[in-house]
Symmetry: C2
């Protein structure tokens, strides 16, 4: 078994309404030192079989990430 | 300016419907080597000021994470 971690973030320049909402809420709560917030996803996938990183990269291209507005990164921790 | 990265994942043992949905979709698409999927959040926060990691930990406790069902982790990359 192998753990593969996918990070998916909005591309730079793409509007991130979830990040803006969090930033607004934090400012409202008095956290005045926040300059920018971007919200993305972390997906942990437990895999068996051959070349798990390549399999997960294919999953990102086919399903997990929206290439128009998101960047993804695949890593195997440890 | 300092970048602080927050990772928020469903606690072990807590049902993760989003992860189950992704796992089901992947199986349906023929990715048969997937054993488990957990979906969480990654939040990138650009900070100024004193002790950014401590400030962001407070944000997690007060707003970003739901301590009942989620674990969070704060790190400063680089």
């Amino acid at each position: 078994m192998t753990m593969v971690v996918v990070t998916i973030m909005p591309k730079k320049g793409v509007l991130d309404p979830q990040g803006q909402a969090v930033q607004g809420a934090l400012a409202h709560m008095g956290f005045g030192d926040v300059l920018d917030v971007r919200v993305g996803k972390r997906i942990e996938i437990e895999m068996r079989g051959h070349d798990p990183a390549a399999q997960v990269t294919k999953m990102c291209e086919d399903l997990l990430a929206n290439d128009l507005i998101e960047d993804f990164h695949v890593e195997m921790p440890g």
